[in-house]
């Protein structure tokens, strides 16, 4: 059936259309809309961390650090270019241009985070397992402390001014820009990861996770793969960070601490190591769960870990294990194709 080649694009277009309609007509509250957007951000975070922790078999636990880099770089650049700031002076470009500039801001944040990912890639050549985990943890702390001590961007008080840019975009062209961009970037990230992992180069990632020596004697340049994979993973986290900053309109280093990294880890393990659809599912479930348990306030942080323990007891491989949706329901493959 030829149609199945188009199922995914059609579904996505419909989703985009519905989103557009719903947001424009204000059929749902701003709260619901923002939860939907956080879902997108979490999907990017979980799938990109799964690349390193699930597919490559390393253990990175500083994902929020890269998210932080992306968030700050995108925000600062945006404020500098389109809205002006008391420390940097007036905006360099008219605010209407933000409509076009916005994706570039997010991508710039991703690029900066990818460079930060290099910091982790280099020690990963020689260290593995627990030691690498400690290095990524340290990277997370270094990034947070660095920003806390940079007074020009607000230090630990945080940095704001992104709401103005989003408002400027909506004034220039009356569309719900943020939900649309979050959807677009989420789809882009998942598609990119899927492409990467199904390439011959990406098969090298799986090879490294299974047996690094065997990968080397099969002519695989393990250092190169590790570098690129780490940079891709952290770059996507940077994209998620940029989106997060513009959704909230305010960033402070505290929101990217080790707790945030742990949240992402929970999503990856909940969904299953080495399963992109598992990570997507888990990110959505986890976001909903966090919101549903909001009335419990601080007790939430007792209930969620408890749920995690229960899942690990009864389904240690996570919701999906290392299988994708198509492996679990082979009949579904007749109806869609995603590559």
């Amino acid at each position: 059936m030829v149609l199945r080649h188009y199922t995914v694009p059609i579904l996505l277009a419909v989703a985009g259309g519905v989103l557009l309609y719903v947001a424009k007509e204000e059929l749902v509250s701003l709260y619901v809309l923002s939860v939907l957007m956080f879902m997108g951000v979490n999907v990017i975070l979980a799938t990109s961390l799964n690349l390193v922790n699930g597919y490559m078999g390393e253990f990175s636990c500083g994902h929020a650090g890269f998210m932080c880099v992306g968030a700050y770089v995108a925000s600062i650049l945006g404020v500098l270019l389109f809205s002006g700031h008391k420390a940097f002076g007036a905006a360099w470009l008219p605010a209407e241009l933000a409509v076009w500039g916005f994706p570039l801001l997010i991508l710039a944040g991703g690029a900066a985070a990818a460079l930060a990912g290099l910091l982790v890639a280099i020690p990963s050549y020689k260290t593995r397992g627990d030691y690498l985990a400690i290095i990524t943890l340290a990277a997370n702390y270094i990034i947070i402390s660095l920003i806390e001590n940079l007074d020009i961007i607000g230090g630990s008080r945080g940095f704001m001014g992104m709401k103005k840019i989003v408002n400027g975009m909506e004034e220039a062209v009356a569309l719900p820009w943020m939900p649309l961009w979050v959807l677009a970037f989420t789809v882009f990230c998942v598609w990119l990861l899927r492409r990467y992992l199904s390439s011959t180069f990406g098969k090298g990632v799986t090879a490294i996770s299974q047996d690094e020596v065997a990968a080397e004697i099969m002519s695989i340049d393990t250092n190169k793969i590790k570098t690129i994979t780490f940079m891709l993973s952290s770059g996507l986290a940077g994209i998620a960070g940029g989106l997060f900053a513009f959704i909230v309109g305010y960033v402070n280093p505290g929101s990217f601490n080790i707790l945030k990294s742990t949240e992402v880890l929970v999503m990856v393990y909940l969904g299953g190591m080495g399963s992109l659809s598992g990570s997507i599912l888990a990110a959505i479930l986890f976001t909903v769960l966090l919101e549903a348990l909001r009335p419990l306030q601080i007790i939430k942080w007792v209930v969620i870990p408890l749920l995690l323990i229960i899942i690990m007891q009864f389904r240690p491989e996570g919701l999906m294990g290392n299988r994708e949706l198509g492996d679990l329901f082979p009949r579904l493959k007749r109806f869609y194709r995603f590559k």
């Binding site: 011959t200 098969k203 090298g204 020596v213 004697i217 099969m218 002519s219 695989i220």
Partner: protein, 241 residues
């Protein structure tokens, strides 16, 4: 000279594993290294493959040369992609969650563009028809013998001209052992050079043109296959009298 190991001394941490061994392999030969457990056979192969510590040893003296140039600064992936030497490791070390076909595909990772991959796939499937039957299966589901075939096939898919084999007969039923060795002989007749490390000395020496006997990191005897088979000391130590 295709491959030349010259007074090689290596260490794992503080433990010296090779005490200055020298041997050479000429184009088109089958050379075997025999010896007991811990003699340094695998260590020698790992050194040639330039694997990094901790798995592989550190070279502290001596040299390894391939076609006249030292390869001590070569990366492990370059040993395969540029020097065309591929290792069939001990214990097979295939990628269990990948299918047979994907395992073979992965080995072509660094092949030059335009290489005739279809012909090489055909060659591997001709040598090992079982692999063709099972090409869509996850390779961890293969039997031990089939996994060994896959390990050899995978090494061939790298486009190698020198095959380094580490204990290929280990854990195989006798009939499979003989079949594998017949295949190795056939590969050699087609022009492949083999460096074979074996504990099964009799089998290895019957196949090889020349052999070296390794004992606790030193070469204690060398000669053609039949010379070593006739050597009373070798017979006593490795061939059961």
């Amino acid at each position: 000279m295709l491959l030349e190991v010259d007074n090689l001394e290596v260490k794992y941490g503080n433990i010296q594993a090779l005490h200055g061994i020298s041997f050479h392999v000429r184009e088109g030969e089958i050379v075997t290294l025999i010896g007991a457990n811990g003699a340094g056979k695998t260590t020698t192969l790992y050194s040639i493959c330039r694997l990094a510590p901790p798995e592989a040893p550190r070279v502290i003296a001596g040299d390894i040369r391939c076609r006249g140039t030292s390869i001590l600064t070569t990366r492990p992936d370059q040993v395969v992609s540029q020097l065309h030497m591929a290792l069939v490791p001990e214990g097979r070390r295939i990628f269990g969650t990948l299918t047979v076909e994907e395992n073979l595909q992965l080995a072509t990772y660094a092949r030059e563009k335009g290489a005739d991959l279809a012909r090489d796939f055909q060659r591997v499937f001709d040598l090992f028809p079982r692999l063709f039957e099972r090409r869509k299966q996850r390779s961890e589901l293969l039997s031990g013998g089939e996994q060994q075939m896959l390990a050899v096939g995978r090494a061939l898919m790298t486009g190698c001209r020198v095959l380094l084999l580490d204990e290929p007969s280990m854990g195989l039923a006798p009939v499979l052992k003989y079949e594998l060795f017949r295949t190795l002989k056939r590969l050699n007749e087609e022009g492949l050079t083999l460096l074979l490390v074996e504990q099964n000395a009799s089998l290895a020496l019957h196949l090889a043109h020349r052999g070296y006997v390794l004992d606790t990191g030193r070469i204690v005897a060398s000669g053609t296959g039949s010379e070593l088979l006739g050597n009373p000391e070798v017979r006593k130590a490795y061939l059961g009298g």
